[in-house]
């Protein structure tokens, strides 16, 4: 039954891994603005739709 020690260790390491991910996310400002990303996500399509007719002139780089 000592396998439980390994299992416990793994589960806690996984949990702590997620916890660290959470702290990093907060630190990088992910929770500072909860609205704009929800709108921004929908824009990707807009740009794709536009690209074919876009002249090379105005394109960046």
């Amino acid at each position: 039954m000592s396998v439980i020690y390994i299992l416990l260790a793994i589960s806690i390491i996984v949990a702590i891994g997620f916890f660290i991910a959470f702290v990093v996310a907060v630190k990088s400002g992910q929770y500072d603005d909860s609205y704009t990303p929800s709108v921004r996500m929908l824009f990707e399509d807009e740009l794709v739709k536009e690209k074919p007719k876009k002249s090379i002139l105005t394109k960046k780089e």
């Binding site: 806690i12 704009t36 929908l42 807009e46 105005t58 960046k60 780089e61």
Partner: protein, 797 residues
């Protein structure tokens, strides 16, 4: 004529003929923006939202201060040779189109490497290459597409802001520990005396202990600190029983596992802290795009043009202005310091400072006060005092601005917690005393159980969830409260004081009345044609209010500054202006603004301007008069007294000619005699009164522009709903009281187990989250019900 609206900004464009690309525009500015966008393939801007744009404003010279390297440096967040990063506040950000266009700025200028919008805060964070694009040109670019950033003295050297994220960390730690401890405690809750459980339970218990340590010492630290502070100032606030409960939970549970008598209550402990923090987090929601703490700094420009001794212009920081400097104030610029007018004609709008709506004319040699806004052309002034010593800025040295209203107010929760704590402590002692005589071994167990189960988690959650949800509901109706305690205080007021200009009157609208001999149609058209030539604000508003007439070409137009205008048309002559100017000597005593007219040197009559009151004002006052004392404190003269007496309920007190300090003192005086005052104002001149009152609400025609420091901001369009908002606040208080009753029922059930000495960890683990969750559900449902009712009422009117 067919009705058209501007494709760019949505304003009416029926009367102008600007067509481009088969689209109609209201002005050249809007058309130019469209041209910029279509040339850069950015016309998706108009697909996302109809007419999302703003007309770009004339900004020539306005941003010259951005040439000053020191000012630029203080605004930047990050600065090196290749990149500069700046966060700009852009009030116009209001829809998804705005996000889209601002995040595609690099299509307009390749030097911009990235731009990220924060919609809530209405800011955009731009990284750009300073070698090809200066900050000044960046600002000009934004202005040219209708997204003019707002840069004020408030932004000065706040480039590197520290965001306080500690609450979210604490919540994260508590949630993380709560989840893990729950899993670890399950085996023992369902224990079936298996062999392996006996072997491993000590390990499980110590793991739970180690998870709960950060919860108690990090997540819950605010409760311990607040309880300690409360006790020190002899107040039994709600955090006292919470801290007591959490401490007892931790100590008893630790003792239990050390002495190997039980599993302890670690899951309940972590759950309790988690739910409490969740409530705090929920209540913390604020309107990040609004600022409730504005002082003069948010209104003042950051840079100003100084004229050096060599007659050259130089941009300097406002803080660097010294006595004796010569400054250039451009049209529409704010005067930042007290000064003397040297050159140019000044028309100063002091509505910021005094609330007086009329602009005043000044001659060279006159003293100008800080806070005035120049309305026509440029002027040159000599500085008398530095920024901090000017008249307007001194108002902020009144100590009322440094007081924290929230601290002084005893919330309902804290009021009840005093009785609650005393009751719990007495129950705990009585029960312990009882057990000491019957079965002494159980006494300690009972004592700690009572403190654990009585921990007022549900009570502490009732107010945050009710008020937090109420804040959101009010926000949807354009009533933005600073924090939850504002709603509690709003429910308690008994006196309502209104400012007049801009608060109960609409800012831009006036009505006119004509007295005198009737003008013929020809005369009226002559009058209107004459007014058309004048740029004086009164002429402009009179022109706008007169009926449509054919415009005739007038001759011999002449403007006499400070007196009036005269003109000739064929044989007729007309004079428009002040009473002496038109040759009217029997000036009767009037306090309202009036424009007199004479034709062919005979006096005809006068146009009197009246304020227009907001829609539903009379009705609102009649709704309020039953329960509240109503007062109007106006900085204006008493010209409108008669009008107001007719309009408002008889018992409304009207006071005129009130200076900012008078308003503040009036409120203080009434508060001392026990009144709870709600002040409703709009300008900087009300700032003192808003700060002094129990609740200060600023009325704003456009919530994105400025309102003075206050507790809540109300959009002017919903001014007539004020009564409903107050009523809803009272309902919120009722909901909180019902939640208290509900949570007391849970406490009684829990106390039964505790007092009889049968409190097992599993009961606490069920009862505590259950009570918290049911309170959250109850408050959410009932506040939403109240919110629905408000919404229906708003829709009806």
């Amino acid at each position: 004529m067919e009705h058209r609206t501007c494709f760019h900004c949505g304003l009416d464009s029926s009367s102008v003929e600007i067509i481009y690309d088969e689209k109609s525009f209201c002005c050249q500015g809007c058309k130019t923006v469209y041209e910029i966008f279509s040339a850069n393939d950015l016309t998706s801007y108009y697909d996302l939202q109809q007419a999302p744009g703003a007309t770009p404003k004339e900004i020539e010279g306005k941003y010259n201060f951005l040439d000053n390297a020191k000012i630029v440096e203080s605004l930047l967040e990050f600065d090196d040779e290749k990149t500069q990063i700046i966060t700009l506040y852009i009030p116009h950000i209001h829809c998804s189109s705005c996000i889209w266009i601002l995040e595609n700025l690099n299509k307009l200028n390749a030097s911009i490497s990235s731009s990220i919008v924060n919609f809530g805060k209405k800011t955009v964070r731009i990284s750009y290459n300073p070698e090809n694009l200066s900050l000044k040109n960046l600002v000009k670019l934004l202005s040219s597409i209708g997204y003019e950033p707002f840069i004020s003295l408030d932004d000065y050297s706040v480039g590197k802001k520290n965001v306080d994220r500690s609450l979210i960390y604490k919540l994260g730690v508590a949630g993380f520990a709560f989840g893990n401890i729950m899993f670890l405690s399950f085996p023992e809750y369902f224990q079936v005396n298996e062999y392996w459980l006996e072997q491993f339970k000590h390990l499980f218990r110590w793991l739970m202990f180690s998870f709960s340590v950060p919860v108690v010492f990090y997540s819950a630290q605010d409760y311990f600190i607040s309880a300690y502070k409360g006790l020190k100032s002899r107040i039994l606030n709600i955090d006292v029983p919470i801290a007591l409960g959490a401490a007892v939970l931790f100590i008893r549970s630790t003792a239990e596992i050390i002495l190997d008598i039980g599993t302890g209550f670690f899951d309940s402990l972590a759950g309790l802290i988690f739910f409490l923090l969740l409530g705090k987090f929920f209540q913390q929601k604020t309107y990040s795009f609004l600022s409730f703490e504005r002082d003069y700094k948010s209104y003042f420009p950051i840079g100003i043009t100084k004229i050096t001794s060599e007659e050259t212009e130089e941009s300097i920081q406002v803080y660097d202005i010294q006595k004796g400097d010569r400054l250039l104030i451009r049209n529409e610029e704010l005067i930042p310091v007290d000064c003397i007018l040297i050159k140019g004609k000044a028309r100063i709008d002091y509505s910021f400072v005094t609330g007086e709506s009329e602009a005043v004319s000044k001659q060279s040699g006159d003293k100008l006060y800080a806070g005035g806004k120049q309305l026509q052309g440029s002027i040159e002034v000599d500085v008398l005092k530095s920024v901090e010593q000017s008249y307007l800025t001194q108002l902020w040295s009144n100590d009322i601005f440094s007081k924290n209203k929230e601290d002084a107010f005893t919330t309902l929760t804290n009021a009840i917690s005093k009785r609650f704590t005393i009751a719990i402590l007495s129950i705990a002692f009585i029960a312990t005393a009882f057990w000491l005589f019957t079965d002494a071994s159980k006494a300690l167990n009972v004592f700690t159980s009572v403190l654990i189960i009585a921990c007022p988690c549900a009570i502490a959650l009732a107010a945050p969830f009710t008020l937090g949800n109420m804040l959101r509901i009010f926000g949807k109706q354009k009533f933005y409260a600073k924090n939850a305690s504002v709603i509690e205080q709003l429910a308690e007021i008994n006196t309502i004081i209104f400012d007049k200009t801009g608060t109960i009157t609409a800012n831009k609208e006036t009505t006119i009345a004509y007295e005198g001999s009737k003008l013929s149609t020809a005369e009226e058209s002559f009058l209107k044609s004459t007014l058309r030539n004048s740029n004086h604000p009164l002429s402009r508003s009179l022109y706008a209010l007169l009926n449509e007439h054919d415009i005739v070409t007038i001759e011999n137009y002449e403007e006499h500054i400070g007196k009036g205008i005269e003109a000739k048309y064929h044989q007729d002559s007309i004079k428009i202006g002040s009473a002496p100017f038109v040759g009217y000597s029997q000036e009767t005593e009037t306090l309202n603004t009036a424009v007199h007219v004479s034709t062919n040197n005979t006096y005809r009559g006068k146009f009197t301007f009246y304020n227009r009151y907001r829609k539903g004002l009379s009705k609102l006052f009649n709704q309020l008069k039953k329960d509240y004392d109503l007062v109007i404190l106006s900085g204006d003269n008493s010209g409108e007294q008669e009008n107001l007496t007719k309009l408002l309920p008889a018992k409304t007190k009207l006071l005129f000619n009130q200076k900012p300090e008078d308003k503040l003192d009036y409120i203080k005086h009434h508060q001392n005699s026990g009144a709870k005052v709600l002040m409703i104002g709009d300008g900087l001149n009300d700032a003192g009164a808003l700060a002094q009152s129990d609740v200060g609400i600023a009325i704003s025609e456009n919530v994105n522009v400025f309102s003075p420091a206050c507790d809540a901001i109300l959009d002017a369009s919903n001014f007539n709903q004020l009564f409903n908002f107050i009523k809803a606040s009272k309902s919120a208080i009722k909901i909180i009281k019902w939640s208290f009753a509900l949570s007391l029922i849970y406490n009684c059930i829990g106390l039964y187990f505790a007092v009889t000495g049968q409190l097992a960890p599993v009961i606490a683990a069920i009862l505590m989250p259950l009570s918290s969750i049911s309170i959250v559900v109850f408050t959410t449902i009932s506040t939403n019900f109240v919110g629905k009712k408000i919404q229906q009422k708003v829709e009806k009117t």
